[in-house]
Symmetry: D2
Subunit: 312 residues, 4 copies
């Protein structure tokens, strides 16, 4: 169907070239790829996490999702399980609470066993000038995104080491984690921390059979992200000019990349940050990329001028 | 089969953890993914390029390979076409020669049409201390790897623009292009240039429907690479300690990632450098990663010492 | 004097090439460079922070240092002030406490005014396998390093904006923030966050006249760092092989770079991470850099072998 | 004086915040810093290279400049030597020619000795859409910028190794070398190669007493650069919005950073790319940085909307 902004109901702007880059959202991995695999996904009841839960479940995994809203957990677990025929478990969990995490993994271990796949996808974010950001609001985002990811990873990682069992980890970052970004300071700091966690453990815990990677997405329309990052529905249409491919991303594009990285097809991909953003960063940052508005006739004139220049 | 070094006939060393990271080399994309697609691969008669030719062909693509040795071109074209049932064309080509490139694409355009997929995979490399590197040897590698990639890309890109046709490009770099590396100066410079080409055109030519990505592999045993980078067959076994996953890569792992990036499943992946290296770079570079040799008992003692430290 | 390890009293190992790279530690900026400037430095009573306090004070700045140990604050303030003849203030402060930060800046504003220079240097760190890291220990380091830096920056930044006053910020990160590192997971995550904070505000708050940069040092012998990162005094001598320049750094090398970045000579340096590490990262990470042990005779033999290789 | 565009004679636009970031262009290093040092600078007769020649000469160095136009070489050598009282030599040289380089260093060795400082600053560049770039034009820029830098470095490096003499190298790249950039494809590729050369030799040749660093500048008005990158004098005023600090750079800011990196104060800075660009890259690339146009009133409204959002 047509791509529509959550708020305005209007289709999000696309640039003309988007026609060359059609989103393909059907699962790309072979059926049964995740048979006998147990996957744990934080924030798995909505948005990208839900998309991934569906994809893994459809490809054979038993999936367990965890986040705060019990209602959404139940709805998604039921919906996905019904669609795929595979079991989908859920735990109510606030990832900021290490004790609660311990309890969830205690329960999960006895109910399902230890996971083969762990996805740190839960996050909070919103736009704000830094001068309006309180210490408390900053910490809240660090707590969910960075500390939450660390708590989950350390708790389950220690269990895996004890059990001599390998696993694959994926964290969801954001494409501005590397460049930093104005107006989402808290999120940029937290996501950069998550990327460092991924690289550090990719080096340290590979000896225990664990792999760690990150997907750093650009804008993909989900209610959670867009309601707090583009509350009027106007910004994305303006930012689209920064995305060379000329459109935002789709959930299914994220889930295909994610399930590849989580599968054994990617056994040798470790410690990597894969940006999924249509080329927005770093490519569109080059200063002269702004010349794309110059017309052919203007280029003719410019080239003539350049040729006549003598020396330095 | 057992993984054996080309020269010694001995299996390459693996670290114990490698058992957790089995290489899966069967094609992961759905059958027919590349039906009606035409792919052009430089250096496609051997090594990674040959692997990719097979994979794309098996998934439905018409493939054209180009390099210098006619004999190998013929052998590979025949072998692949026989195995997959799809046509595999070939052109003798030295990528350092822009005129020859023009002729090849003239011919290809009339024989097969313009490609949907272009893979810049041809390269030359060898280890040497920089003080033994002549200006001439340096230039030779730049000419093949960087200029060759640019000549191919500019020639076919201009044709595609004229025809209003989109396409997907992939270049094969190396994981040391970002860090630089001693003893392969020429290759590091050339590959860094290829990565900049990829990012630059990802920004500039997306408006014409073209996407550009790079795979930067760590060591994958091919005769071409290993004979000139590890002529005695001893180095890789020593370097294995730098690869967290504990083993080198396999051709099929490269081809699966490559065919994903070349497919429409990756429509929104543009301008990205994906490193395929078991976590070697950047992760294993962190200074304290070297502490992996410390034993559990030593850690007990170290922690006791750290606890007794008072102040700065 | 001779460079000696804190613990063993033995000189730290240097490689032979270190003789080409003598540390020059005398202040390099012109006298009076920081006249009429007010500088605020967290962790300024010891180690790198103390060195920087001395340097800025000597070049004319009024310096205020802040950390937890009142005794060390008093000692350093007195020592530096005596040596330079310029006023050095101090506040007892735990940077994890936003309320305490508010009080310190309230006091400072009335006692000295708002700072022209803010240095986020306070940190905590120690080596540990991640499987021995508790959620609590992880959070402690995040709280000091990342949150502490953010609290300081947000509090003083808001004051500066209100006052219409510009300022220059410097944060001290670590060279493994980009690569990640095993065995210092908590610190790598926190420092990566600090780098993202720097880049984000470099973009967002330049409009208010603020610049933000980072120095990411490799090993420089201070009691605080080395006692918790190399408690036996053995590791650094082993890691020295990863530092191309063949020696660790000296405090005066850090302070010269830092005072340059903080001065108006660097008005156009903004949002940058400058690594000060003898070339350790990223350069020494290239896989083939390991070939530095190959002898001249072995290279002769290797080159002969490479030349005889035919084809791919 | 007022900063004026070469072509229009009009002052280049500055943003309001530029008043907080005054360029300080007087030499910052102590008098005599480069006494008894011999410096070799390609492209040293004009622009940034000339500025650096002046700075090093003023601080005591004997300087030798080399480029193609004999007239400019003579003029600059005379002008600088007259101003500083120190000898300034010059050689006519096209850096694309390894034979000519050999002759120049033969002569230089006998006339002045081997250099302590080598600056690879010569370059060619111009804006153009990639579809208007010929293979020949691409190669020309690679030849000057990448191959020229390599030829100079390999030739003089081998001599230094033979003589057992250390040296410090600096190359001038561009801030888009990392991101890539549209419309300067050739330059982005060449500069990325130069950065890889720097990192590779920083690792490999430190054992011989050589250090290697890069400055990657954003726009600094020189006739050579601006005449071919902004032939109408209009682009920079538009691009200024991408530079957080709100102005372009000045030659003296470049020379101060360059002479620091070339001095023994920076003995422990090796293999680093220092970007000098007012924060343009990577900081201003973050997607949400574009929100700087949102007014205070609009932020009030946005925050109210964000607060009312319930759930994901
Ligand atoms: N969509 C984009 O454009 C975009 C771009 C870049 C990065 N990302 C990243 O992609 C990931 C998914 O985002 P999304 O777009 O799918 O938005 P979303 O639907 O809002 O997903 C966030 C999820 O995190 C959960 N969560 C939040 N706080 C939690 C807590 N304290 N404990 C446990 N769970 C918590 C939420 O559930 P509850 O509220 O019920 O707990 C929700 O399910 C995030 O990491 C986000 O940063 C998204
Ligand atoms: N294998 C690894 O460990 C590894 C690691 C990092 C990167 N890579 C990269 O992966 C790519 C493939 O390497 P490989 O390992 O598969 O080695 P390979 O078999 O030697 O492949 C190189 C191919 O390039 C072709 N070629 C060389 N010079 C050429 C020229 N002037 N014109 C046209 N074709 C030319 C060769 O064919 P002809 O000689 O017949 O022309 C050969 O088919 C290369 O880009 C390499 O740098 C490989
Ligand atoms: N030296 C190195 O090799 C090296 C390498 C990479 C990075 N670094 C970084 O360089 C900076 C300085 O380190 P250093 O080597 O000079 O070690 P240091 O002497 O231990 O300095 C750390 C300072 O931080 C202060 N501090 C710690 N916790 C604090 C808190 N909660 N509130 C306020 N102040 C606090 C300490 O004082 P109190 O304990 O009295 O509060 C101490 O003065 C740190 O950011 C460190 O991470 C150092
Ligand atoms: N100014 C900027 O905004 C800016 C921004 C980013 C990077 N840069 C870099 O800064 C460096 C200096 O540039 P600039 O702005 O000072 O421009 P410039 O005045 O044009 O300097 C370039 C110099 O290179 C010399 N040169 C060109 N081709 C040569 C060859 N084949 N052999 C020997 N010398 C050659 C030129 O002299 P002849 O023509 O007489 O040979 C000239 O002196 C360059 O590397 C440039 O890429 C400048």
């Amino acid at each position: 169907g047509l791509h529509r902004s959550i708020w305005t109901g209007q289709p999000l702007k696309k640039l003309e070239q988007a026609k060359f880059f059609p989103p393909v959202q059907t699962p790309m991995l072979p059926e049964g790829t995740f048979n006998n695999k147990l996957a744990f996904i934080t924030g798995g009841a909505t948005g990208l996490g839900k998309g991934l839960a569906q994809n893994l479940s459809q490809l054979g995994a038993k999936v367990v999702i965890a986040s705060r809203s019990l209602e959404r957990l139940q709805e998604t677990a039921e919906e996905v399980s019904k669609a795929t025929g595979n079991e989908v478990g859920h735990y109510r969990l606030d990832v900021r609470d290490p004790e609660a995490i311990k309890e969830v993994f205690d329960q999960m271990e006895s109910q399902y066993g230890l996971p083969d796949i762990v996805v740190n996808n839960a996050a909070g974010n919103f736009i704000t000038p830094a001068e309006r950001l309180s210490a408390n609001a900053f910490t809240t985002v660090i707590n969910i995104v960075l500390n939450g990811t660390a708590y989950i990873t350390l708790d389950v990682g220690k269990r895996l080491i004890k059990a001599g069992k390998g696993a694959t980890f994926l964290a969801v970052s954001a494409d501005y984690a590397d460049s930093g970004s104005g107006f989402v300071l808290h999120s940029a700091c937290a996501k950069a921390g998550v990327e460092a966690l991924t690289r550090s453990l990719a080096a340290e815990w590979a000896r225990y059979g664990m792999r760690f990677n990150v997907i750093a997405p650009g804008p993909i329309e989900t209610k959670g992200a867009f309601s707090r990052l583009d509350p009027t529905g106007q910004f994305m249409s303006r930012f689209i000019g920064k995305i060379p491919v000329g459109r935002i991303g789709e959930v299914g594009e994220f889930t295909n990349l994610a399930s590849y990285l989580l599968s054994d097809y990617a056994s040798w991909v470790n410690g990597q940050i894969v940006r999924l953003n249509g080329g927005e960063y770093p490519c569109s940052s080059g200063m002269f990329t702004g010349l794309s508005e110059v017309t052919n006739e203007q280029w003719d004139a410019l080239q003539a001028m350049i040729k006549t220049v003598k020396g330095s």
